[in-house]
């Protein structure tokens, strides 16, 4: 079942022989990196195996939130929120960004305590976060029942349209001279004299000084072939979108049983972390110890399954040469089956709690594969042993909101500019140098 259709982006027929930087992956991260670099005068090739925004970046919930951010990510997110505010003007198109606020509801004292602990860090950044009373909630969400005692409300949180954002950013990069090649998988890196000197794509070699790997759920596989170990697993989440809801709420709601976010078309994107599913693959066992703290943190909300994915993944080659057809070409768009049962249950509880949604039909179901790191913090990092290689991936279920800031940092690293925020928190080596791995916000706890 295909996901929602991202806006189209024209694709280049021919590849340049040489550029300053090749960006691998046309998700929000790759697109923002390409735009940053193009604005700074670098020549850029953006390679996407399928179509721009075809995977996570068009399938996500569309939340741009500052709340529930790992403190290590906070500076990056504050800058991202600033960049989102200017993004429409910068790219000359509509990305749907609105500061609509997000209310994180709680039903009991334990829930309140859990949410209130986020307040101090938000206030440190002068963010307008407060605890909303049931009366205030009734104002924001007229007619909603569902037994909430209150909510953590941050009016600086927002939303944007996932089907629009990455394509709009890619087109803006194109307008500044970047080459965008869709349907063009990068097979492997060309390494000479110990540093990156180009990439081999399915359409031939392109020389370059640096490469940014922003391959989302594919980054581990791509880097593994280059001998770089990135601990990363895939977590499937299912989403549905409804038909338009007349007079539906503007503010995004996170209820313990469901979430609903208003879309530009007047419908709602409905989802829940309860529809998370961890599909066991051979990698799950290879990485089990690394992910143990994360799994402990979240295992209440995750269900595990062994599906045909296990066999498929086991068959997937892990090494290949530049002249071989790679897994990236065999799977142009990662399109996991939605977990209909789980998401229908979520929608049913939403409709039970909220009469406004009763009788509103579901227009579409889809699922997306979230790329998760052991501490649920992204990797935005140079690779010490391979000069010229930069990684920007592993956004662990919250990379849509971080896109503009992450692209800026990745561009800083790729161009050897002074990073605008300390990149140490995002370094790859934290998984191997003995740093204790501590998931703080996690994937599922938003």
């Amino acid at each position: 079942m295909p996901g929602p259709t991202p806006d189209p982006v024209p694709s280049a027929e021919t590849l340049p022989a040489r550029v300053d930087t090749v960006v691998i992956g046309g998700g929000i991260i790759g697109c923002c990196t390409a735009l940053e670099l193009a604005e700074r005068g670098f020549s850029v090739l953006l390679c996407e195996k399928g179509h721009i925004g075809g995977e996570q970046s068009s399938r996500n919930w569309g939340w741009v939130r500052l709340t529930h951010r790992d403190p290590r990510e906070m500076e990056l997110m504050v800058e991202s929120a600033r960049l989102w505010q200017q993004l429409d003007r910068r790219v000359g198109a509509e990305t749907g960004y609105r500061r609509c606020g997000i209310a994180f509801g709680f039903r009991d004292e334990a829930g309140r305590a859990d949410l209130e602990q986020w307040l101090p860090s938000l206030r440190d950044y002068q963010l307008p976060a407060s605890v909303a009373s049931p009366a205030e909630l009734a104002d924001l969400f007229p007619g909603m029942e569902g037994g909430l005692q209150g909510a953590l409300l941050n009016r600086a949180d927002g939303r944007a349209e996932p089907q629009k954002a990455a394509p709009a950013v890619a087109r803006a990069a194109q307008a500044l001279g970047a080459t965008v090649a869709a349907g063009c998988a990068v097979r492997s890196l060309d390494i000479s004299a110990g540093r990156v000197s180009g990439v081999f794509t399915e359409k031939g070699r392109v020389a370059c000084d640096s490469v940014v790997v922003a391959g989302g759920a594919w980054s581990r596989l791509f880097l593994g072939n280059a001998g770089v170990e990135l601990p990363q697993l895939r977590l499937r989440n299912t989403v549905l979108r409804t038909a338009a809801v007349p007079d539906g709420p503007e503010t995004t709601i996170k209820h313990p049983d469901f979430t609903a976010r208003r879309r530009a078309d007047g419908g709602y994107t409905v989802a829940s972390v309860l529809a998370n599913r961890f599909e066991l693959t051979p990698d799950s066992f290879r990485l089990f110890m690394k992910f143990l703290p994360a799994l402990r943190n979240e295992w209440r909300t995750i269900s595990f399954s062994v599906g045909h994915g296990f066999v498929e993944a086991a068959r997937e080659p892990r090494r290949w040469g530049a002249d071989q057809v790679t897994p990236f070409e065999r799977c142009r768009v990662l399109d996991p089956d939605p977990d209909r049962k789980a998401i229908d249950k979520v929608y049913a509880s939403l409709q039970r709690a909220w009469p406004a949604f009763r009788g509103v039909p579901v227009e579409q179901y889809w699922a997306g594969m979230i790329d998760v790191t052991p501490d649920a913090v992204s990797v935005i990092s140079k690779v010490e042993q391979m000069p010229g290689l930069v990684i920007a991936t592993g956004f662990s279920g919250h990379g849509f909101g971080l896109g503009p800031g992450a692209g800026k940092l990745a561009a800083d690293l790729a161009s050897d500019a002074r990073p605008f925020t300390d990149p140490a928190n995002f370094r790859l080596t934290r998984f191997s140098d003995g740093t204790p791995i501590r998931p703080i916000s996690g994937v599922a706890r938003r």
Partner: protein
């Protein structure tokens, strides 16, 4: 790199252009050899502690806002990169930084290379302890160091600004020795009405002088025949005062200044025509009304004629506006206003015709005296290039950036010819000395290696 616009120089003009061009949606890269944006006037303004920023005065503090806007503009920035080669057709810039040399192929180039201090070759100027006023100011901006008991000598607004800044920092100079001939103030008065159209700079100048006097600094006006005495280092500044008496001021630190002139290295390298401008006593590159030096190459700021920071910033913005398209009337009017006091200042601070005596070293890199240059000129060197060829003047590490104007003036004087026909050094890449490793690993074969024309 293939930006819409490459800018060389991160002073007011370059920053103004980068901000404006990004706002218009152009891709921009700015190359600058310093580690921080700001150029000379705003050096360090983006990063120094607030207290030091305030000491340096309001014009310096203004730099902070511009630098912040530049950082937020999304322009590419290559700090610590020396643009060591520039080619016009097709447009290309080679710049060397910590990571090696990089070639930029922009659609348009803006030179915002600013000014350099006019050399002040007086006896003893090469002794340790003698600096340019600009050099002393750099020390203050970069490291918060103000030399105690310094003597500042020469002429120009910077001399007073520096004295006021040192006083504010608690280390006022012992003396300011101004070398303007008597009557210069009266002569400049003719240009005063024009300057009064925008009296800001004049009021600021008078304010500075008042502050220096209040700080108890000795002021000597109408001084002549400057000389620095000392064996291993500067010990005293000697001069003849207005009443004809010989004076000697003991000082470990002497700051010399005779105003600033356009930095011609880039425009000369590009073989742009230059005209001698008697009012500014400097060569100015030929530029059209739209700031254009050649197709696709623009210049903004002091590099095209000294106009000061406000005018430079606006010219940078104008250059970007001209490239991106848009209304330019407001910016042009602003530039005219910002330059209104210029004719007055040019007249007041004109360096005059006095040239160093034969014994004085002029090219400090290669240790060439004024006498040697005069002799070479009389023996047939018709321009600075022949003097360079015969004497190595201008061949040292500074590549003639420091001594160029003085060498040209000496040749002109010795041959009894004008500055225009005397001309200037022929500048070739690299504009600044480079490590061989950079040249060896440069992206393209080294340009400019053809034999020098006679």
């Amino acid at each position: 790199m293939t930006p819409d616009l490459a800018i060389i120089g991160a002073g007011p003009a370059g920053l103004g252009a980068a901000i404006e061009a990004r706002a218009a949606g152009l891709s921009v890269v700015l190359v600058d050899d310093q580690p921080e944006p700001g150029g000379q006037i705003w050096r360090g303004a983006g990063t120094v502690p607030k207290a030091r920023r305030q000491l340096m005065g309001p014009d310096y503090a203004k730099g902070r806002a511009v630098i912040d806007a530049f950082h937020a503009s999304g322009a590419g920035y290559l700090p610590g990169h020396v643009a060591w080669n520039i080619e016009a057709e097709p447009l290309a810039i080679d710049c060397a930084g910590p990571g090696g040399s990089r070639r930029i192929l922009p659609r348009a180039l803006l030179l915002a290379t600013g000014a350099v201090e006019r050399p002040v070759p007086v006896p003893g100027w090469t002794l340790p302890g003698v600096q340019t006023a600009g050099g002393l100011q750099i020390l203050m901006k970069a490291s918060g160091l103000a030399a105690e008991g310094a003597v500042l000598a020469g002429a120009g607004p910077l001399l007073w600004l520096l004295a006021a800044q040192m006083a504010a920092a608690g280390a006022p100079p012992l003396a300011v020795v101004e070398t303007l001939p008597r009557g210069r103030y009266l002569g400049a008065v003719r240009a005063l009405p024009g300057a009064m159209r925008a009296p800001g700079p004049l009021a600021k100048g008078l304010g500075l002088i008042a502050r220096v006097l209040r700080a108890g600094v000795q002021v000597h006006r109408g001084a002549a025949a400057l000389r620095i005495d000392g064996t291993d280092r500067a010990e005293a500044l000697c001069f003849r005062d207005a009443s004809g008496r010989d004076r000697r001021l003991e000082a470990q630190t002497v700051g010399l200044h005779m105003g600033v002139v356009p930095n011609q290295q880039a425009t000369r390298l590009l073989r742009i025509g230059h005209d001698w401008d008697e009012a500014q006593a400097a060569f100015l590159p030929r530029r059209d009304g739209d700031l254009r030096l050649a197709p696709g190459i623009l210049m903004a700021g002091d590099g095209a004629g000294i106009g000061g920071a406000d005018a430079a910033y606006l010219e940078g913005r104008l250059a970007a506006r001209l490239l991106a398209g848009g209304e330019t009337g407001g910016l042009r009017r602003g530039i005219a206003r910002a330059r209104a006091a210029r004719p007055f200042l040019d007249r007041l601070y004109h360096p005059g015709a006095a040239l160093p005596g034969d014994e004085t070293v002029v090219c400090r890199c290669e240790n060439v005296t004024a006498g040697a240059i005069r002799r070479a000129a009389r023996d047939g060197a018709i321009g600075p290039n022949q003097a360079k060829f015969l004497l190595r003047a201008g061949m040292g590490p500074c590549q003639g950036r420091t001594c160029g104007p003085a060498v040209a003036a000496l040749v002109a004087e010795a041959r009894g010819q004008g500055m225009q026909e005397t001309g200037y050094f022929r500048i070739r890449p690299p504009l600044k000395p480079l490590p061989l490793s950079v040249i060896a690993s440069a992206e393209l074969p080294l340009p400019g290696t053809q034999a020098a024309p006679p």
